[in-house]
Structure formats: C-alpha cells, structure tokens
C-alpha cells in the first residue's frame, strides 16, 4: 500500500475510549494533501480527541494513526498545532517574535541558542501573516485576529506540512475571520494541509474544501455538498437541527 504520497493523514479503524465510553469509534479516514479540511460535529463529539490522536497524544484502544506514513506517536513535530485562544495566557511575558521563534525550537539542539537563521525563519513566517511590524510587541497588546495570526506564524515556522487549528474563528468578528481565512488559503497554496476544528455550520461550506462530520463515529468525509445533507446532520445534531435549516437551504439552491 503505497499511498503515502497522496495521503498525509491516515486514520485506520481508530477507537479511543475513556472509562468504557467511546470518544471515537471505528474512525477510518484518509486526508489528501493540500486541502483545507474542516472538522465539524456537536459538543462532545470527540473532535478534541480526534486532534489529540493526530498529535500522537493518546494511545488508541484499537487502530492506527499515520502521519506521512509514520505512526503519529513517533512523528512528533510533523504536525504544527495552533491552540484555541482561550488556552493561552495573554499576559505571559513573551513577544510576538519569540512566539514565532518557538516554531523553530524542535530543530534547535538543547545545548545551543537559536541561530540567526532561526530568527530569519521566524521573521519570514511573521511576514507571511503580515505581522512583521509587531515583532517586538507583547502578545497581549494585539487584537484577537492578530493573536491568531501570530500563532499561525509559529505553526508555519515549524515547517510542518500539516497544520492543526483548534477553533481559530471562535470569538473574532467577521472582518478578522476573513483575514484569518485569507492566511489559511495562502498557507494551503504554499502546499500545507490544514485541519481546522470549526463550530459554525453556516460558514463551513464556504470556507473548506472538505468536511469531516464526526460524532464518535465518522458520519461523512468529503466535499461540503456531500456532507451537509439533511439526513446526515439530523442524525448527528438530533433535535438541534432546526437552527441549521438555513444552511441546508443554502446548500440546495
């Protein structure tokens, strides 16, 4: 099976449980490279477990996760992670440049300091998200969208082909959402595969090339028009589907 050229993330029959309750059940999925992939599903659907599995943090009950053909637990650092905004202490004494430089840490041996080359790479990553003018700022002084972009720069500086983003659009206004999406698009054009946990079904079809719909099981994976179907969504979201009726209407038209 020589599929590692086409697929960057391969999940095969993955089951993960917490105290006899399955967080993920028999999930099999292969994600192609150069895609902008959205992960959708209700709260408690196992989205964060899915992310942890890709980052190689959990030992599955059954199944394997492969990153670029290599077991996820061994492929540390091949997936760059962008945390949720709420997970970061914005008062931490650290500048924008230092955050971007963190992306290089995995390449710097413990006995040396970051080289000029590392600093250069960090600055280039900041330029890519148009944050180079803020390099000396403390991260708490930035707006929400700028903060998100700095963490994207850090992920880009890691040089990984796969970027994992945990709700990058949570709590930002519409204009900022556009700006972030713009950076994601450019990262994709630069040959990155982006996996994005997303909450807002109404924008999912517009933003992503492919969607993953999970709730413990994998319900669908494919282009948005094949995933955002009423029968599938009603199964996954149960009673809460009425909120999304406009999403479906938009899809049909």
């Amino acid at each position: 099976m020589t599929t590692d050229n086409k697929f960057v993330i391969e999940v095969d029959h993955l089951t993960v449980s917490y105290q006899a309750k399955p967080a993920l059940l028999d999930v099999t999925i292969s994600i192609e490279r150069d895609q902008l992939v959205g992960v959708i599903g209700p709260n408690g659907a196992g989205k964060s477990t899915f992310i942890k599995a890709i980052l190689g943090f959990i030992k599955p009950d059954v199944g394997i996760v492969k990153i670029n053909g290599q077991s996820a637990q061994k492929a540390k650092g091949e997936v760059a992670y962008v945390p949720q905004r709420g997970a970061v202490d914005w008062d931490f004494p650290i500048t924008v440049e230092e955050v971007a430089l963190m992306g290089r840490y995995q390449r710097i041996p413990w006995y040396t300091s970051p080289s000029g080359q590392d600093r250069q790479a960090a600055l280039e990553a900041l330029e890519m998200v148009r944050m180079q003018d803020f390099a000396e700022r403390q991260i708490g002084e930035l707006s929400g969208g700028q903060q998100q972009r700095v963490f994207l720069a850090r992920a880009l500086a890691q040089g990984s082909d796969i970027l994992l983003l945990d709700e990058p659009f949570a709590g930002v206004d519409a204009a900022t959402e556009r700006a972030i999406l713009d950076v994601l698009e450019r990262a994709k054009q630069a040959g990155k595969t982006l996996v994005v946990v997303h909450h807002d079904l109404s924008t999912a079809a517009e933003y992503f090339d492919r969607l993953i719909l999970i709730k413990q099981r994998l319900y669908a994976y494919g282009p948005p028009r094949l995933v955002l179907r009423e029968d599938l969504l009603s199964k996954v979201y149960e009673g809460r589907l009425r909120i999304f009726s406009d999403v479906l209407a938009k899809e049909e038209s």
């Binding site: 980052l55 992670y81 997970a87 004494p93 230092e98 840490y105 710097i108």
Partner: protein
C-alpha cells in the same frame, strides 16, 4: 555614613548573611518567575511547610543510624524527600478524588507539617531542632554549612534553568505545543518542582518557613510588572531578590529587628513601589492613560457644536454647549492633533475629516429623534434623549434605524437627515 553603611560590612555575621541571603534570593527570584507564571505560589508555600517533617526525619535517621548530630546533608535530603512526597500526594489526591487541587494542597501540607511538629516534639530528647528558628529563620546566624549548601543548590538550579530555558519557557507557555514537538512535559514539571523544593529547602534556614514563599514570588512578581520577556524577567527578579536582601539586612541592623522579617518587608515595599511607578503596568501609568483618554462623547459633542454654529467657534461657545466641560481644552487640543479641527483667531472650525465625523453624529442624532417620536416619546424629551443616544452611531445601528423608519428625509424638527 560610615557608621550606617560600612561598619556592618566589617562584621562576619553580616558578611555571611549578605552572601548567603543574596545567593538564595537570586536563585529564588529566577525560579520564582516560573512559579508565578504557572500559578504555583500556593505549592511553594506547601513545600516549605512540608519540609519540617523531612528535616526531623533526616535528623532522626542520621542520629539513630550513624549517631551524627544535626547532619546538614541528611536533613537536606530528608526535606527534599518530604517535598517531593508532598507534591506526589497532592497530585494523587487531586487526580483520583473529586477534591480539587487547591484543597488537596491545603490538606497535604498542613498534614505533613503537623506530622513534622509531632515528631519533633515526641523526640525532643533526641532532636535538637528549634521550631521557632525553623518558622522564623535566622539569617544573622547563618552557618558555614548553610552557605555551602545554598551555593551548591544555586549553582545546580541555575545550570538546569539556563540549559533548559527554552524547554521551561514553552512548557509553561503552551504545554500542548511543547508535547506536540516531543518535549517531555511531565518530566519538566517534576524537574521544576524539584528545583523549587531545593531552593525552598536552602532558603528556610535563613528566612524561615513562612517568609520563604515571599522570597520566591515577590521579586518575580515585581519583575513581572516591568518586563515583557521571560529572560529579562528572570534577570530582574534575581536583581530584586538581591536588593531585598541587602536592603533588608541594613534595615535589620539599623532597627535591630528580625532579619527574615526585615528582608521580606523591604521586598514587599519594593514591590509596592514598582506597582505604582512601573512604566507600562504600573498604577501611575494606568491612571495617566485613563486621564489622557478623551471621552468619545466629548469629542462628538465638540464636533456637532461647531457644525451647528456654522462659523468658527470660540471657546466660550463650546463651554456653553458641550455637556462635559471638564478637560475641554485638552480635548480640543488633541482633536487639532488628530486633524479634526483647525484653530483660527476667531475660533475653531472643522477640517474635512471633522465635518464628515460631525455629519455622521448629526445624522445619528436626527435618526434617533425620528425614532423616539415614532415610539411616542414626548416632544420636549426628544432632543435631550437623542443627545445621549446619538453617540450610538455605528453603521449597523444607523442603518437599522434608517430602514425601520422607512428612510425618512426630515427629522421631527424639520431638519434634513440626508
């Protein structure tokens, strides 16, 4: 002058206190930065209290097995074991029961502290530990072994922190990212805890159980108010630790007071001073920022007053019409700086930008009047109420009012909205 500053320096006890105190305070400051940023201050407190059981245990074992009296390395090892055991028990209880971590810390450290107190009092004929000394510390009676122990601990802890600075930085700032690039986050946690324990253990003999936490977190917190980079914060914390010891020791000699108390008092005063005067995060800076902030409402009032006056407006007219006339001059000056106004001998007039801004507020005002009339507000209240509401002039609100009212051309007073 000589009496005050130089004379104490010639005393051996003062020299030892100065050297030992500075070493301990410096390394405590550096480690303290990570303690503060990880919100582990309470854990530092726990470690220092739990130590007494370890000291007693170490003393007892060395005495009973090797008949060595007050063997310093034995007690040091004992306290380290006690500290690590306490941390292990805390995380065990917090993990397996529904008791949360802060409560678990409280239970475990008082429990182990109590065990230490009981052991010391039962074996009071074997162990010669002065509990008061342990609680209050005795920096003026620093023994040579204490000096060597603290120098060794400082060298070890600083080496670890400098070598693995980046690892500790990232594991503190973003543990998930740290784990995702393959750093042993849990191991780093343990190493840090051991470093904190070592520092606490070496500091207790000087400043005592109660004050050691202050030495750990106060210089670090002081530095936190002054720096936006972790490496700088650590330098400053070390510096503040040393100045606390120097200042505190002089204070103690001059006032003839308790050494540990004087040091922590000086340290706290130092923090309070920085809290007030810090250039960016200080209270004074905050107050100045607030004071220099010109209320949007005042700016908009000035704009509309000049627009309505229709010719260059002198200051007294502004004082008459602008609701909030405090700081009016400053507001006008800052608006000139922002390019909203120009000043001429006969008064102030609007620039192009100013006219645009004023027009926006005026449109909002008239739309609000029209809206208020439509919901049945009495005529005489239309203007004053709209005057408050006009400051809600963002485009989505204005558009909503415009739509809802069917895009009116004139307001209730017959003035043009378009």
């Amino acid at each position: 002058m000589y009496e005050l500053f130089i004379a104490p320096l010639t005393e051996t006890y003062f020299q030892k206190a100065l050297i030992g105190g500075s070493i301990v305070a410096m390394v405590a400051g550096v480690v303290g930065c990570l303690v503060v940023l990880r919100r582990m201050a309470f854990l530092g407190d726990a470690l220092s209290h739990a130590m007494i059981a370890g000291v007693a245990g170490g003393y007892l074992v060395m005495k009973l097995l090797f008949s060595l009296e007050a063997h310093a390395p034995g007690m040091l090892l004992g306290s380290l074991i006690a500290a690590v055991t306490t941390v292990a028990l805390i995380s065990f209880v917090a993990r397996i029961s529904r008791v949360k971590e802060d409560t678990a810390i409280g239970i475990m450290y008082t429990g182990i502290f109590a065990l230490g107190v009981v052991v010391v009092s039962i074996f009071r004929h074997y162990i010669h530990i002065d509990l008061m000394h342990f609680i209050m510390g005795d920096i003026l009676g620093v023994a040579d072994t204490d000096l060597w122990v603290s120098a060794f601990v400082a060298a070890l802890v600083l080496t670890v922190l400098i070598l693995f600075f980046r690892h500790f930085q990232i594991a503190t700032f973003d543990p998930i990212m740290a784990a995702s690039i393959g750093l042993p986050v849990l191991l780093l946690d343990y190493v840090l805890t051991i470093c904190v324990s070592l520092v606490v253990v070496s500091a207790v003999s000087m400043v005592g159980v109660i004050l050691v936490v202050g030495l750990l977190i106060t210089p670090a917190a002081t530095a936190y108010l002054l720096s936006d980079r972790l490496d700088r914060m650590m330098w400053l914390a070390a510096l503040f630790g040393v100045t606390s010891v120097v200042g505190g020791l002089y204070l103690c000699v001059w006032l003839d007071s308790a050494g540990g108390g004087a040091i922590m008092l000086f340290c706290t005063l130092q923090f309070l001073v920085v809290l007030v005067v810090a250039p960016k995060y200080g209270l004074l800076a905050r107050w100045l920022r607030m004071r220099n902030l010109i209320p949007q409402q005042q700016v908009e009032d000035i704009l509309t007053t000049i627009l309505r006056y229709e010719k260059p407006t002198p200051m007294n007219i502004l004082y008459q019409y602008v609701e909030q006339d405090k700081g009016l001059k400053k507001a006008v000056l800052s608006m000139i700086g922002d390019g909203l106004l120009v000043e001429a001998p006969e008064g102030f007039s609007l620039t192009e930008d100013g006219t645009k801004e004023a027009g926006k507020v005026l449109k909002a005002h008239r739309l609000w009047e029209a809206y208020l009339e439509s919901i049945g507000t009495p005529q005489e209240e239309l203007h004053p109420t709209a005057h408050h509401l006009e400051h809600i002039s963002d485009s989505s609100t204005v558009d909503y009012l415009d739509e809802k009212l069917g895009k009116p051309v004139r307001d209730p007073h017959g003035q043009s909205i378009r």
